[in-house]
């Protein structure tokens, strides 16, 4: 490594992202040595799922300036869709244990959740966000925020009215013995859900970075007028972004159905966690959100280990508030343009 690179690395280390990543890794390593490797495994698995939910939220906030309060309800739509697709599949599997559905059935359910979320997103845009955008331009952030609050209450209670308040859960997606990593047992479902989220987040990152449409989405997020004058169809991009964001939340809900059974308010916890991630990491980039997701996961796991069950809202939220006092735009947020109420 050349001297120049060294100094670049050193400067990076002194910035907020560098510092917090280094501290997080140090804390994770220290806690792992102290408590055992299971802590690290749990952090990675939890972080993977948080990343999925948080990227969708970042997308909504970063591109459309919509502080989405109903994100958890799209998570719920995903889990509900997956439940209704997978229940008949699992019954079929019980009778035909050799069927190809044993391996691929869960994927059908999870992809179904993805599609369900995307459709829900399109409907929301057509019925709710679109009309608001056409009618109101001033005070957009707050108005859209309140709108999503309404959407959240609406979806929660529609679920309750139509599907009832009971918990619609499944035993698991993939049968078989848990996988053992360093004497830590991780069930196949968790491994798969982590892989799914890793693949989706990676694909999403590539999509946003290299494809024409992905770049158009980024362009809209950075300067909507600029995007319009280069010929990007804003309406289309907005529709795509909303359905993408909702699909990301829904696919998280679908792939985590084995852990979070579907019920009206199942989305609240993922929502809180996703907001923790987004506020902590700031509105910058997808990689920032992913890093933030692992940090929040670490906070959560550490809290569970050293403080106890039930404290996992108190301690992380207190810490995030502390960080916000010193770094109001979040750790990775270089640019909070547009979300400021200017």
């Amino acid at each position: 490594m050349s001297k120049h690179n060294m100094s670049v690395t050193l400067t990076w280390l002194k910035t907020a992202p560098g510092l917090s990543i280094v501290i997080s890794i140090a804390v994770a390593v220290a806690a792992t040595i102290d408590a055992g490797p299971y802590l690290l495994v749990n952090m990675v698995v939890t972080g993977g799922m948080l990343a999925l939910v948080a990227t969708g939220l970042t997308l909504m906030l970063g591109v459309l300036n919509i502080p989405m309060f109903a994100h958890g309800e799209y998570f719920m739509i995903g889990s509900l869709t997956a439940y209704y697709i997978f229940t008949p599949i699992s019954e079929f599997i019980l009778e035909h244990p050799d069927s190809w559905l044993v391996t691929f059935g869960p994927f059908i359910a999870i992809i179904g959740a993805l599609i369900g979320g995307a459709i829900a997103g399109v409907i929301s845009e057509k019925l709710v966000f679109g009309p608001l955008r056409r009618r109101s331009t001033d005070n957009w952030v707050m108005n859209s925020f309140l709108l999503t609050v309404g959407v959240s209450v609406l979806l929660i209670n529609l679920h309750q009215l139509i599907f009832g308040a009971d918990f619609k859960g499944i035993v698991g997606y993939w049968q078989g013995m848990p996988i053992s990593i360093a004497d830590v047992y991780v069930s196949k479902d968790r491994v798969m859900s982590f892989l799914i989220s890793a693949v989706i987040v990676a694909l999403f990152y590539l999509f946003m970075t290299y494809t024409r449409t992905g770049m158009a989405i980024r362009a809209v997020s950075q300067d909507i007028t600029g995007a319009e004058i280069v010929g990007i169809d804003i309406e289309k991009i907005v529709l795509l972004t909303i359905s993408l964001a909702c699909a990301l939340a829904a696919v998280a809900g679908g792939s985590l159905l084995f852990m979070y059974p579907s019920y009206p308010t199942v989305g609240l916890e993922p929502l809180y966690m996703a907001w923790f991630v987004v506020i902590l990491s700031g509105l910058g980039n997808i990689l920032g959100a992913v890093a933030g997701a692992f940090m929040v996961a670490l906070l959560k796991v550490i809290t569970m280990e050293y403080v106890g069950a039930g404290w996992d809202f108190v301690v992380p939220s207190a810490l995030i508030m502390l960080i916000l006092i010193f770094k109001p735009s979040g750790i990775f947020g270089s640019d909070v343009r547009g979300v400021l109420d200017k």
């Binding site: 158009a216 007028t225 600029g226 995007a227 319009e228 004058i229 010929g231 990007i232 270089s334």
Partner: protein, 235 residues
């Protein structure tokens, strides 16, 4: 006639700014609009570019009525707008910004051809192709905005206040680059506060006052006009 604007009325909300503005541009022309602050120069540009929908009147481009089309639809017709605020994508690199300028072109090789062309025109941009647009200096950004406007191979470019907020020597270089563009056969509609400079470079000009076209004619004639001299040039 490449662009014909007839009796355009436009504004923001209930506030009307333009009153019966009519103007036209032929292919290959270099036309300037001058006028005092708040006369409606930028509003005219934004309305033609489709960012503001007019209350009445018509905009015909290449024989096609484009009145009231959205900004992106107008861009697809071949009009590119370099706005006063530049509206760059600050978190994208120079090269990415330029590629976004060619959004209406689907073929990658055509995009690359345009990129080469812009880099040839502005070697400075080629040097900084990996830099984030948000970290560049004012003059470079202006260059990038114009370069991005060029990327879609437009038949008409609307350039709004290219000298705004720039140091004099940078202004000169920006004007020089527009000069180069005209030679490559692009039609340009320029809006400027710098009246002397504008009337010196353009072929024809309009004087906009209080949302109305006051005078029009050859730039050289306008520069000699006593009213223009009195009001804008302070002679």
């Amino acid at each position: 006639m490449l662009l014909e604007v007839k009796n355009l009325n436009a504004g923001y909300g209930y506030l009307q700014i333009l009153r019966d503005v009519s103007l036209h541009i032929d292919k290959g022309e270099y036309v300037g609009i001058v006028g005092p602050n708040g006369a409606g120069k930028s509003t005219t540009m934004k309305t033609i570019a489709g960012l503001i929908s007019p209350m009445s009147g018509s905009v015909v481009f290449n024989g096609e009525d484009i009145t009231g089309l959205s900004g992106s639809a107008v861009a697809k017709k071949g009009i590119s707008f370099v706005s006063e605020e530049m509206n760059l994508f600050v978190n994208m690199t120079v090269q990415e910004n330029l590629y976004m300028g060619a959004y209406t072109i689907k073929e990658k090789h055509l995009q690359n051809e345009r990129l080469e062309f812009v880099f040839e025109l502005f070697p400075r941009l080629a040097e900084r192709r990996k830099q984030l647009a948000g970290t560049m200096s004012g003059g470079e950004r202006k260059m990038l905005a114009i370069g991005r406007g060029m990327m879609s191979n437009p038949s008409l470019m609307l350039v709004d206040e290219p000298s705004f907020g720039l140091a004099p020597q940078l202004t000169t270089s920006v004007f020089a680059s527009l000069e180069v563009l005209i030679k490559t056969g692009v039609t340009i509609l320029l809006v400027e506060q710098n009246v002397t400079k504008t009337l010196a470079v353009t072929g024809r000009g309009y004087v906009l006052e209080n949302g109305k076209i006051g005078l029009e004619g050859k730039s050289a004639d306008l520069a000699e006009d006593s009213y223009v001299k009195k009001v804008f040039l302070g002679v």
